[in-house]
Amino acid sequence: MAVSADLREALAELVGPENVLTGPETLLYAVDGIAPRAVVLPETREQVRELVRFARSRRLGIVPFGGGTKLGFGNPPAAYDLALATRRLSRVVDYSPADLTVVVEAGLTFGRLADLLRREGQFLPLDPAAPDRATVGGIVAAGLGGLRRAFYGPPRDWVLGVRAVSGEGELIQGGGRTVKNVSGYDLCRLFTGSWGSLGIIVEVCFKVFPAPPKSVLAVLGLPPSADLFGPGLQLWREVPYPAAILGLDPASAADLLGAAAGPGGALLVLFSGAAADIEFQLGRTRAVAGDHAARFGAVADGELAGLWGQLCDHPQSVGRDLPVWVRISVPPAGAGAFGPDLTRGRFLADIPGGVINLYTDSADPAFLAELRRRARAAGGSLALGRAPADLKGRIPAWDPLPAPELMARVKGALDPDGILSPGRLLTA
């Protein structure tokens, strides 16, 4: 794509020529098959402000770009002039282990943050896919819960403060650095999960926690055509404090667990805490499993770390080679109703979270529309996590927004010219 020398020069003036890409490299930043006219890699938040102000003056559409691991979500951008890559904004601003808080720039990868915390015996239970690429800014902007969401909460419960550059180029602070804060409107919650539509996140303060002393994953191999959801919910009711309860389809279970998997897939139950408690929890789990499972096993230590990483990376491990990722989120007790539909692909379900990640090669919009109708009727929603561009043209990436006029007014309050991720979340 031809880029006017003028645009390139103007951007180079703002961030330095080494931080502007315009050639074929822009293809690496394509969203839904659309490449940006230019990629900018600011090194300071001041540069982010300058870039947004410049873009606003020229009415250029900007999509913030972290590790690019979740950009399959959302509708195709209505205007994609600039990719604003955050990876050169990746400093650790302040880590205070004794306060259980850490402040980092948005482009830091989750993997590097996790390493930093691990050295102090702490952790952040967000479980993103591809942690070596996923950035904290992207994780917060998407706000998606990880596999331990039901126990530890989604990202929004771990974000104490956010700094973001609004569509007017103003640097806005939401929250702060303390674990409790009710000073003014909670802007950090507003930015969390806003998919780059209200501001470009440049800095995040997280609450962190001491890492649990020990974790064990119980593996229940299921007999053919077994229902995962009923037993999964029973485990949730009857076994105290599971850190996660996951359901896995037969093929993925065989891939990831080998002989421990059953012909009907697997239920996985994670426990974290004191060794004596875990023994008790495993005993209770085995008692419940007795009625349902064909096999019972447990995974711990190094083996668990590897397996857990693969589970978190479900868009690649479970969804490998499957072009469509359907994310169904319903009240947990209603997830079982989708069991029969899941034979259309591979899946990983967070049972107490009520979230099903279905991966399929079915590009049938009627099937997806029907799933969406039922998810909405059950009081939930359906989002596309990735899909070929032509499919996205035939079915919206999100459900209709609740309170759409109010959402549009909120967008207008922070991005009056609609230059941030235009059309991705709110379609004009």
Binding site: N181, V182, S183, L190, G273, A403, V410
Partner: protein, 467 residues
């Protein structure tokens, strides 16, 4: 002058025509709604609508919208930052009668409730099923869920369980324009912005919440409460930091200082060691192995920090007794002097000793002895100054001391409020922590919900910021 009574009559007629049965106009009745628990301000509303249904709230807001009348929602009126103080000549919409549990959904661990439901009544309602509602502000025996949502209330057990916003899954909101929207719900993810999270803690300035979907938390299988006394405040505060730093996150970690302990002992006889300089109440919960290990670890850390005594409550009765004094602290303090000014700041936990020492010095400089009873584990301070309004200059000195304490807390990296809200009390201090761009963004968000600025105006944001 002749138009005013005519307008008031027209408004009253509009309320009645909209089907609202209870509109208070009698000055004596209205006076009850002129203030909340904040000592700083009061204002006489022209009307008080006592809503008997969500439909009443919608109708009342629509009338306010039509007449351009400012309105203030009210639960139990226990707000200590002035959030429930109306605008003079405006409308109070009381939600106290909307106090039902609408539907408990144990399978999905949540319940729809009305905003006027008293916090404690919710937990009592679900206790037979083995669940409770986790946020427990000190006012939990009287304050309402709607008020808790408006202020994003905390409480002693928020250290491990989180504050109100972590326990509100969804809500129904009447916008100041009279539109009704439902935000959030029982599923984990919905498309669009997290307006639920924005509305929680917005102090009634974005509309009126008429239904709340709360998360229900299973009761812990095991619970242990420790009462630890220290001969020095510095040792107690250092023990708090050490407990957190050691990787223990108790469900509650509360501190009381000597002046506070003396008052409690004198008036409610909770059995606290009255000669201690500071006392910690530490609670751990969960499975037996974790609870035993953590209780032991906490006790060991306390001894390493020169604890004078470690008491362990082993049964529910003893536990209730340890908490009783803490819960009764504010009532006891009220007997000391007729007035008190209760503050609310959060500082990084590692700065506790330094900040507490400076607070004491500031108060003594103004002739007060501060009482401290607070959520130490969160770094959430509640210095309390008792005074007698009738004593000339005392009120002014209390305000002056409060202002100095505020600056010290902010300078230590803290924030203006941890759980009481900004309200009227701290609105003009907001520029201490937020810059002009932050405040402008907040003002614009307010405008997105409330273009006419009718919903609880003049709260939360400083008055001089232009839209």
């Amino acid at each position: 002058m002749t138009q005013q009574p005519h307008r008031q009559e027209a408004i009253l007629r509009a309320f009645r025509a909209a089907g609202i049965r209870q509109v208070l106009t009698d000055p004596v009745e209205r006076a009850v709604f002129a203030k909340d628990a904040c000592p700083l301000d009061q204002a006489m509303p022209a009307f008080v609508v006592v809503a008997e249904s969500a439909a009443d709230v919608v109708a009342a807001v629509r009338v306010c919208h039509r007449f351009g009348l400012p309105f203030t929602p009210r639960g139990a009126g226990t707000c200590i930052s002035g959030g429930a103080v109306p605008v003079a000549g405006g409308v109070v919409i009381s939600l106290a009668k909307l106090n039902r549990v609408l539907k408990v959904d144990l399978e999905n661990r949540c319940a729809w409730v009305e905003p006027g439901l008293v916090n404690l009544h919710l937990s009592e309602h679900v206790r037979p099923y083995g669940f409770h509602y986790a946020p427990d502000p000190s006012s939990y025996m009287v304050s309402t869920i709607g008020g808790n949502v408006a202020e994003n209330a905390g409480g002693p057990h928020c250290l491990a369980y989180g504050v109100t916003v972590n326990h509100v899954l969804g809500l129904e909101l009447v916008l100041p324009t009279g539109e009704v929207v439902t935000l959030g719900g029982k599923a984990a993810e919905y498309p669009g912005f997290d307006l639920r999270g924005l509305v929680v803690g917005s102090e009634g300035t974005l509309g009126i919440v008429t239904k709340v979907l709360v998360r229900l938390t299973p009761n812990p299988p095991e619970l242990r409460t420790l009462l630890i006394s220290f001969r020095s405040l510095a040792d107690a505060a250092a023990a708090v930091s050490a407990i957190i730093a050691a990787g223990v996150v108790p469900v509650a970690l509360e501190m009381m200082d000597r002046p506070c302990l003396q008052v409690i002992e004198e008036y409610v006889r909770a059995g606290y060691p009255a000669d201690a300089e500071a006392v910690l109440i530490v609670e751990v919960d969960g499975l037996p192995g974790k609870v035993a290990a953590e209780a032991e670890q906490v006790a060991a850390i306390a001894r390493a920090h020169n604890a004078a005594e470690v008491r362990l409550a082993t049964d529910p009765e003893q536990r209730a007794r340890l908490w009783f004094g803490r819960r009764a602290a504010f009532g006891a303090i009220a007997k000391l002097k007729p007035n008190y000014y209760l503050h609310d700041f959060v500082v990084p936990r590692t700065r506790l000793v330094e900040v507490l020492t400076r607070i004491r010095a500031i108060c003594e400089g103004h002739g007060f002895i501060p009482l401290n009873v607070f959520h130490a584990g969160d770094g959430n301070l509640h210095p309390l100054i008792v005074y007698d309004y009738a004593e000339p200059g005392a009120y002014e000195r209390a305000l002056k001391a409060g202002e100095e304490i505020t600056r010290v807390c902010i300078a230590a990296g803290g924030t203006l409020s941890g759980e009481h809200g900004i309200g009227i009390e701290k609105r003009d201090l907001m520029p201490l922590v937020f810059g002009p761009e932050d405040l402008r963004a907040m003002r614009r968000l307010k405008g997105a919900f409330d273009p006419q600025n009718l919903a609880n105006p003049d709260k939360l944001l400083p008055r001089e910021v232009a839209p």
